[in-house]
Amino acid sequence: MEDQQYRGSYIAGFELFEKSLNGESASPLHAVRREAIARFASVGFPTVRHEEWRFTNVAPIARTAFAPVLRYDGAGVTRQVLNRVGSADGDPFMVVFVNGFWSEEFSRSAGLPAGVRIESLASALARRDEVVLSRLGSLVAAGENGFTALNTAFLREGAVITVEDRVILERPIQVVFLSRPSAEPHASYPRVLVTAGRESRLSLIETYASVSEGVYFDDAVTEVVLGEGAVVEHDRLQIESTQAFHIATMAVRQERGSNFSSNAVSLGGAIARNTVTAVLAGEGCECTLNGLTLAAGTQLIDNHTVIDHAAPHCTSHELYKSILDGKSRGVFNGKIFVRAGAQKTDAKQTNKTILLSADATINTKPQLEIFADDVKCTHGATVGQLNEEQLFYLRARGIGEEEARDMLTFAFAADVVSRIHAAPFRDQLDRLLRARLQAGRIATES
C-alpha cells in the first residue's frame, strides 16, 4: 500500500474499534487514544531514514492491511498449543490472551498470595483505576514512534500485574499472547503493566506465540516499574509465526537498589523488533539484559537495547547472542548512557553471533555515551562460524558431522538458556531449541 493508504486503513480500523467500545469513548482515556491515532496519522511507521530503524525496513508491515480484533474468540486454542509454545501445565500462574483478548478459559490465578494482583487491563480501565491510568504510558510515550502510537490508540486489553511492597511471590507469573491467524490478517496490541513494590519480588514470563503459521501483526508494549529494592526476574519467549510481524517495546524503570534481569529468546517473526529500555534511576541498581536470537529463511530479528545509567553505583550486564542461518538478518544495537554524576557505573556489554550460512548477516553496533569520569564500561562484539577445531574434535570421537554442528550450536545458545530464571520454562525452552537445531541447520518450526 502507498504511504497514505496504509495510514488510512489504520484510521478506518480505529473507527471500527471506537464503535465497539460501547460508550466508553467518553472516558478520559479515550482522548489519549484519539491523540495517539492522530499522532500515528501524522508520523506513520518509521523508515530506514530514521537512525533507530536503519537496518530494519518495516515497509512490509505497511504493505498489508491489518484489521483490529474486536472480540474474544478462543477457537483453536488448546492446552497442547500452549504446551508447544513452552507453557507447561503446572507451576506458573498463567494469563492467556488470544488475538489480544483475555481468555478466561485458559487463564488461572487461583492461589495467588495476598498482595499480588493479576488483572485484565480492560477491567482495570472499566473501573477507571486511577493508579493504572496514571502508570499506563508513564514509561513508553505514545508519541515515541508509529508503533507505540498505534498500541496506545488501540489500547483496550492487556495484563496488569501488581506486587505490593515487601511481598515475595515464589512462583512465576506467565503471560501468554497467542495469535490465531486467519485469512484476513489481524493486528493485536498487547499491553503489559507491571508494578513491583518496594522490596518485593516477582518472576515474570512473557510469551508471544501463534496457534499456526500465518500473517498477522503483534504490536506490544510492556512497562515495568521496580520500587526500591525490588527484584524482578523476567523471561521472554517470542515464537511467533515466521510470516508474522512482531514489534515490541519494553521499558523498565528501576528505583534505588532494585534488580531487574531479563532473558529474551527470539525465534519467530518475518520481522521482529524488540526495543528494550531500562532506566537505572536510583543508586545501587543492577540490570541484566540477555538475549538469544535464532533465525533462518528470510527472517529479520532486531534487538535494540538502551541501558540508561542515571544514578551512581549501578551495575549493568548485557549478553546478546544470535545464531543466524539461511538468508536471515540480525540487528543488535546496544546503547549505554552514563549520565553526568552516575559515578562508579559498571557496565558490560557483549554481543556474539554465529553465522551458519554464507548468506546470513548481522549488523551490530555498540553505542556508549559516557558523561561521567569514574566509570567502568566495556563492550565487545564477535561474529564468526562454528569452530572447526571443536567440530573436528567431536567428529574424531565418532559423532556425526551434523550432530556435532547441532551440539556446538546448542552449546552457544545454552549460555543464555541456562540463565533463564523459571526452571520449568528453562527446561521447555531447552527442548524447544534442541528441536529447532536439525542436522546443522535451524528449522523455523519445531
Binding site: 567431536l394 567428529r395 574424531a396 570421537r397 550432530e403 552457544f412 549460555d415
Partner: protein, 253 residues
C-alpha cells in the same frame, strides 16, 4: 591392522609427509619419534582425518578398508582413536553428554544397543578410577578450564571409555609431570591387548620407560628414516637425531 604405503600429504600446498610406509599389526605398540617439524603430528592428523590436510599420493588401509575414504567420525566408529596433542575446550557441552553421544554413535555403528543414562554412568565410574579422574571434571564442559595434565588425562579417559582398536597418541606425554605421565601410561597399557594396537607419537623417550614399544620409527623430513626396536629410542635419547640425518635418507623418495 594398518598399512600405510608411500603416503604423501600436506597443508595449503606444502608437502609435509613425503612417502611414509608403515605396517602396524594387532597386538603391537609403535613409537614414532622425530625432531620438531618432521611430520609426526601431520601423520597422526592424516590418520584421524583432519580436514585441513590433503593427501596427494599413497594409500592407507585399515582393517581391510581404505581409511582415506572415511570421514573422521566413520574412522572413530571403526575403532580408530586420536588422543589430541592439544585437546580442544568446548564450552557449553558437558563431558558426560559428549562422551555418551560418542560412545552411542560407536555402539550403534557396531550394531550394539545404545547405553542408557544409568548404564553409561556405571561405565564412567569404572573407567574413572583408571585415570584418576574427578567426578567434578566429568560434569564440567569438555576440557573447559582443565589444566594441561587434566586435558591429557581426559583424552586417556575417553580412550578407556571408547575402547578403540587402534589408538594414535599425539604427544600425549608432552608437558606432563611424572605422576600424570604414569597415569597416562597405565591407561595405555590397559588398552594393550592382542587384538589392539597403539601408535605413540612422541618427542621424548621418557614415555617409553612406561610404555615399552615393540617398534620405534624415526621420522625425519616427512619420511621414516630409521626403524628399530625399543633400543633405538635409547640411542636417540643419547645421541639425538643428527646421526640419523647423516646416514642419509632413502634415495628416490
Amino acid at each position: 591392522m594398518l598399512t600405510v604405503r608411500n603416503l604423501h600429504a600436506g597443508i595449503d600446498g606444502n608437502e609435509i609427509l613425503r612417502g611414509i610406509d608403515l605396517e602396524v599389526n594387532a597386538g603391537e605398540v609403535h613409537a614414532i619419534m622425530g625432531p620438531n617439524g618432521s611430520g609426526k603430528s601431520t601423520l597422526a592428523g592424516v590418520l584421524a582425518g583432519r580436514p585441513e590436510y590433503q593427501v596427494s599420493a599413497g594409500e592407507v588401509t585399515y582393517e581391510g578398508k581404505n581409511l582415506l575414504d572415511l570421514a573422521p567420525e566413520e574412522r572413530a566408529r571403526e575403532g580408530l582413536f586420536l588422543a589430541f596433542q592439544y585437546p580442544v575446550e568446548i564450552p557449553g557441552v558437558s563431558n558426560t553428554y559428549f562422551l555418551k553421544a560418542a560412545l552411542n554413535a560407536i555402539r550403534k555403528h557396531r550394531g550394539e544397543e545404545e547405553l542408557d543414562a544409568m548404564e553409561f554412568l556405571a561405565l564412567m565410574k569404572k573407567k574413572m578410577g583408571l585415570v584418576e579422574m574427578d567426578q567434578d571434571l566429568l560434569n564440567r564442559p569438555v576440557n573447559e578450564g582443565f589444566s594441561g595434565g587434566e586435558k591429557k588425562r581426559n583424552e586417556i579417559f575417553q580412550m578407556a571409555v571408547l575402547d578403540p582398536k587402534l589408538a594414535v597418541l599425539d604427544e600425549t606425554d608432552s608437558g606432563l609431570d611424572i605422576d600424570a605421565l604414569r597415569i597416562v601410561a597405565a591407561g595405555v597399557n590397559k588398552l594393550r591387548r592382542p587384538e589392539n594396537a597403539v601408535i605413540l607419537v612422541t618427542h621424548y623417550q621418557r614415555l617409553l620407560n612406561y610404555i615399552i614399544p615393540d617398534f620405534v620409527h624415526v621420522l625425519i623430513d616427512g619420511r621414516i628414516a630409521k626403524s628399530g626396536g625399543k633400543e633405538l629410542a635409547l640411542a636417540l635419547e643419547e645421541r639425538g637425531y643428527d646421526w640419523i640425518k647423516e646416514q642419509g635418507l632413502p634415495v628416490g623418495a
